[in-house]
């Protein structure tokens, strides 16, 4: 697909702006829609929402679960915020997270000698490289052959998910497990967990990365180049910023972070590579990037919100039988409201 020159890309402004009240209104409206859906199913919406809150925040362990769930969304979403700011619609976080998971698992399982903390660090670096590599494949096809980035990244997602199954059915698989999964990883490479809450330190990595990206976006020349490119490619070209260089930069950053999200998920939560562990994460990342108004620092509360909703929804399903897919509906409706509320008029 050829480039549509001058088409308004995601129309967020160059400077920080007062989107947050509108986003809160969007969340409120979608909650209202969700309440109607719960009522249609014959349940009391108030009871359902109370069960959700209790399920997400009722005990230290549950709060820890929320934080663990938030982690990959935050890492991938913060990178996407950067991509979208530059007008690069990267929809490939799913695949980039999956490749990060493969990189991590391969490093740990192939590690010569006894596994140590060094192994874990090397595995996370491998995750960043693999995620970045997958983003690089997409970027090379997009820029080199003028295929639209949305299409390339989406199609590559399916290839990456199948690739996980391929390596699990072969070199990284655990024979005779009955499922497609790798052997369990030694305790030495597990991410450290905070006692009592049981959340792993991935969330700290995520918070640090988001704040760092926010700094890059607002306080550095590179961030300025990103913002100008997203606003107007013509203006960016006139100012001497290369669209290709900016695209490479944001894609590699987002891909690396998404890959790291996959690695953290493996070392922190599952302790093995599992088939389909990343399914749907990429779309959650898009959700939290939009909820955070494409501001990397604001993606932190956005990702926490989604993590809280999802953890709570599972409890709600167990306790009162309202299907947890309600969360996906809430996310979809919220995004629609945000899209209608935040676009530029004329």
């Amino acid at each position: 697909m050829s480039e549509t020159a001058g088409a308004p890309r995601l129309a967020f402004r160059l400077r920080r702006d007062g989107l947050f009240p509108r986003i809160l209104v969007a969340i409120g409206l979608s909650m209202l829609c969700a309440a109607v859906l719960v009522a249609l199913a014959g349940h009391n919406p108030l009871t359902a929402f109370r069960a959700m809150l209790a399920g997400a925040l009722g005990s230290p362990y549950q709060i820890g679960t929320v934080l663990n769930r938030t982690c990959p969304y935050l890492l991938a979403g913060a990178g996407l915020a950067l991509c979208f700011r530059a007008g690069v619609i990267n929809m490939g976080s799913d695949g980039q997270i999956a490749m990060g998971g493969i990189g991590t698992a391969a490093t740990v399982l192939a590690w010569p000698g006894p596994p140590t903390v060094i192994t874990a660090i090397a595995a996370l670096i491998a995750a960043i490289l693999c995620g970045g590599l997958w983003a690089a494949v997409a970027t090379a096809i997009h820029l080199g052959r003028r295929v639209h980035e949305v299409l390339v990244t989406l199609l590559l997602n399916f290839v990456a998910l199948l690739f996980v199954q391929l390596v699990l059915s072969g070199p990284l698989g655990q024979p005779g497990a009955g499922f497609l999964q790798s052997p369990a990883m030694p305790r030495a490479v597990w991410l450290w967990r905070v006692p009592h809450f049981y959340f792993h330190i991935g969330i700290l990595i995520g918070v640090f990365a988001s704040l760092a990206l926010s700094f890059l976006l607002w306080k550095t020349p590179w961030g300025f180049a990103i913002r100008v490119t997203g606003r107007s490619r013509a203006a960016a070209a006139y100012a001497g910023f290369s669209t290709a260089a900016v695209t490479w930069g944001v894609m590699l950053t987002a891909g690396g972070l998404a890959g790291l999200g996959g690695g953290v998920e493996i070392l922190g939560l599952h302790h093995r590579l599992i088939e389909g562990f990343s399914t749907g994460f990429g779309f959650k990342a898009v959700t939290v990037a939009l909820l955070g108004a494409l501001e990397p620092a604001a993606v932190i509360p956005a990702a926490l919100f989604v993590g809280l909703l999802e953890t709570g929804a599972l409890a709600m399903q167990r306790q009162i039988g309202v299907p947890s897919a309600l969360v996906v509906v809430i996310e979809g409706i919220t995004m629609l409201f945000i899209l209608t509320a935040t676009v530029r008029r004329a």
Binding site: I89, L156, L290, L336, L339, V343
Partner: protein
């Protein structure tokens, strides 16, 4: 060999419907990333309709309405509110996935919904021709409809006044306005129709092929349809040909295993996506989009 080609046609049919819808939408200037969600909603509505009423016709009607509803949402958000086409399409896909999963659990609980799949309608006389008969004239009804759809859309786009206005909306909406038509209205209608037609594609998957609905059963076919309409250069027959190629790639899976060729089934499953990427990259810079696509009015 006949089995293989028949499987390719079977797999391509839902893609063809979705691609036809997508052509309408993109010719009018709205990227059709929401095809996946439109198909999914159509697949769901078809099975629920046929299950509740014991009538396949009601199922098909609901598939058109369900897909059209997702189309309406995309149309309002992109055309009326001028939002980004790509992200809106993706959001529609997420919404459709959530809604269908939620409603399926509410309506059916843990029980699987089973309806009779649409049977083949052999065309009298023609279906008895050797080779061509079983291959081309012994299909279930929606497969013939897909072929009719290609012909119909070709005529509509390239032989009628409406088609000319529609194409102009994607190329040069000001000219449409000067000609006395309303480009915004045309875009809305095109995107809603896109949803309705893609919804029929979903019905092929659920009602015609398996007779049940499972969560997220479209599994990326909407994105393949999107790729095939680009490969087919926004022409109905071209897109249908591309769909058949992707269908053949997927049909290979069963054949290779049948011949005992030692290729991992996961690699074979990747083939449609890899071929799509390769063909898109091969066409590369020569592809020409409608000039005004993705731009708000």
């Amino acid at each position: 060999m006949i089995d293989f080609l028949a499987a390719a046609i079977r797999i391509a049919t839902p893609l063809i419907f979705a691609a036809l819808g997508g052509i309408l939408s993109e010719r009018a200037g709205v990227f059709a990333v929401g095809l996946e969600g439109m198909m999914l909603m159509g697949a769901f509505s078809a099975v629920i309709g046929a299950w509740a009423s014991s009538s396949a016709a009601v199922g098909l009607l609901l598939a058109v309405l369900g897909g059209g509803a997702i189309g309406l949402i995309v149309a309002i958000v992109t055309v009326r509110y001028r939002a980004d086409n790509m992200v809106t399409g993706l959001t529609a896909n997420i919404l459709a996935l959530g809604l269908t999963t939620y409603l399926l659990h509410i309506l059916a609980g843990t029980a699987a919904i089973q309806v009779d799949p649409l049977g083949p309608w052999p065309i009298p006389g023609l279906s008895r021709i050797p080779v061509a008969g079983p291959l081309l004239f012994s299909h279930p009804p929606l497969t013939y409809l897909a072929v009719l759809g290609c012909a119909g859309l070709s005529v509509l786009l390239f032989r009628t006044q409406t088609g000319l206005l529609l194409r102009a909306t994607g190329e040069n909406p000001e000219a449409v306005f000067v000609a006395g038509a309303d480009p915004q209205r045309l875009r809305m209608i095109a995107v809603i129709s896109c949803g309705a037609i893609a919804g029929l594609g979903g019905a092929v998957l659920s009602l015609q092929q398996v007779g049940t609905f499972t969560d997220g059963m479209t599994g990326g076919r909407g994105y393949l349809a999107l790729a095939s309409l680009i490969v087919g250069r926004w022409h109905p027959w071209g897109a249908a040909a591309a769909c058949l190629v992707f269908g053949a790639a997927e049909a290979l899976e069963f054949r290779l295993q049948g011949f005992g060729i030692p290729v991992s089934s996961y690699v074979v499953q990747m083939m449609p996506y890899l071929i799509a990427i390769a063909v898109l990259a091969g066409l590369g810079r020569s592809t020409k989009l409608p000039a005004f696509i993705g731009k708000p009015l």
